[in-house]
């Protein structure tokens, strides 16, 4: 079976979610962008062997998903879709770093495994946070608030088009893969020659289509500015949201809560 149609990214659904209406959806996009950035910085700044200290950070996606009424399964699956990238980054850690750090009974766990798991953990947290940001805000609003923060326009436009053309690329890939599999009768694996011509063709077709979309945008007055319909206004809610979460992140970052809890429990047991 050619599954590519079903498995394709379907990241457009994030934008559909952004049309929802919850207290989180109504927040100023800028508040959500800052909070997400603070979250990512806090998670990424942990030591390479940090694992249990990161655990409290899972509260953030859990709270946002439940308050924002987002489909947790969908977001998780989308994060898994990109997981191989993180695995690729960390996969050699267990081989290189063999020093035993933790001893659980007879099993010694090396530093490599811990840092590998730490990378996966960070990855899931940051990617989910980014997906949550887009599904609560919409990509255009995210880009528009980046512009308001003074991020250079060419950079934001690149980001916007990258996102737009992602759909184009997956669409075209899907069609080509389907056309190939219908005539390959699913028997032969793709040989190198077919693969290269497929990729080359894909590039040309995508460029063509991207140009047509760009043309359609120009025809409707697109001039590089991103305009969104909701007016952006900051209220006390946005300030409370951002400053509240940032305080929580700082607290989580500098006090190892699981460790404290652990010592508390073991101390109590003694």
């Amino acid at each position: 079976m050619n599954n590519i149609g079903r498995n394709s990214f379907d990241i457009g659904y994030l934008d559909t979610l952004a049309a929802g209406d919850s207290p989180l959806h109504r927040l100023d996009p800028r508040a959500k962008v800052i909070t997400t950035l603070a979250f990512i910085v806090a998670v990424v700044s942990f030591d390479k062997y940090a694992l249990e200290a990161m655990a409290p950070f899972f509260i953030y996606p859990v709270v946002l998903i439940s308050v924002g009424g987002l489909p947790a399964g969908y977001l998780f699956r989308k994060a898994l879709f990109i997981l191989p990238l993180a695995v690729l980054i960390g996969i050699f850690n267990p081989l290189i770093d063999r020093q035993i750090l933790v001893q659980i009974g007879p099993i010694g766990i090396s530093g490599g495994w811990i840092s590998f798991l730490s990378i996966i953990c960070r990855f899931i947290l940051t990617v989910t946070a980014a997906f949550i940001l887009v599904s609560l805000t919409g990509f255009n609003a995210v880009c528009s608030s980046l512009l308001k923060f003074g991020v250079p326009k060419p950079f934001v436009i690149q980001l916007l088009f990258f996102y737009r053309y992602l759909f184009v690329l997956t669409d075209e890939t899907e069609r080509m893969a389907r056309a190939r599999s219908l005539r390959a009768f699913n028997s032969a694996a793709m040989d190198f020659k077919t693969f290269t011509s497929l990729v080359g063709n894909l590039l040309l077709r995508t460029l063509d289509r991207a140009e047509r979309i760009y043309r359609a945008m120009r025809c409707r007055g697109f001039d590089g500015d991103i305009r969104i319909i909701g007016s952006i206004k900051t209220s006390w809610r946005d300030i409370v949201f951002t400053s509240g979460w940032v305080l929580v992140f700082v607290f989580f970052r500098y006090s190892n809560i699981p460790l404290r809890l652990g010592t508390l429990v073991t101390g109590f047991l003694k």
């Binding site: 559909t16 289509r209 979309i213």
Partner: protein
């Protein structure tokens, strides 16, 4: 309102790969006219349409929209007055929801939020797709997509509507609905099409293109009766003007 006049004067265009697109093309379309551009595949129809709002610029010759020559300076104004509906609605619809997509143009024109919302509602209503406002465009049927892409253009209140193959890949009923919709528009209409029945229904004038040149320009009825001309342009009489196959079979027997 001279604004609605479209005039091309000796247009030439060659694609970067050397293919000749237009080869000395001239015509004048005046206010409120509804004109079909017909011709075989590769005759230059789409190339011509892309010139009308400056997506492509001619290597020779010029275009007048209203009283002004189309140039870089007035490109934005021309794009506002010439609304273009592309052949493939998937190229035209790129926003997360139908509402956002229709609002894209008016927002870029710098209109205020209440005006944008009003225009979007109006355009959706005219195109008969008000109920789709909150749907994501890529989930719609082909006919719905087509109506939405027409709404995206209507929302910018253009004077001239330019359409590339508006009835292609529509089912018969959607096609009929679109034809009825087009008939209600007061705009100057320029429609490139292979659907000669559409031309017959909607356009009183037809321009025939062949190899990037105008080979005939006149009343649609006269042109579509001219079998020699149709044959030399790889076209056929519209179905509604052909003999009824059932009656023909009866006559033969």
């Amino acid at each position: 309102m001279s604004h609605h006049i479209v005039e091309t004067i000796n247009l030439h265009y060659t694609y970067p790969d050397g293919t000749k697109g237009l080869n000395g093309l001239s015509f004048r379309i005046s206010h409120g006219e509804s004109v079909a551009i017909v011709g075989e595949n590769g005759a230059g129809k789409s190339t011509l349409l892309l010139h009308l709002n400056g997506c492509l610029s001619a290597s020779e010759g010029s275009i007048k929209i209203g009283d002004h020559l189309l140039n870089k300076k007035n490109l934005a104004a021309v794009r506002r007055s010439v609304g273009m509906v592309f052949q493939n609605p998937d190229d035209q619809l790129f926003m997360p929801t139908v509402f956002d997509d229709v609002a894209f143009g008016p927002l870029n024109l710098g209109l205020e939020k209440p005006d944008v919302e009003r225009l979007v509602r109006q355009a959706l209503q005219t195109a008969g797709v008000e109920h789709l406002a909150s749907r994501p465009p890529y989930k719609l049927s082909q006919g719905e997509k087509r109506s939405v892409s027409i709404a995206t253009v209507l929302a910018m209140s253009p004077d001239i509507l330019v359409m590339d193959e508006p009835t292609s890949s529509l089912d018969p009923r959607s096609r009929r609905r679109l034809i009825e919709l087009l008939k209600t528009f007061q705009h100057t209409k320029i429609i490139a099409t292979h659907d000669l029945d559409l031309a017959l229904d909607v356009c009183e004038r037809t321009i025939v293109l062949h190899q990037g040149r105008v080979t005939a320009d006149g009343k649609t009825k006269n042109i579509l009766f001219n079998e020699g001309l149709l044959f030399s342009s790889s076209l056929e009489k519209p179905l509604s003007m052909q003999h009824c196959p059932v009656c023909a079979a009866k006559k033969d027997s």
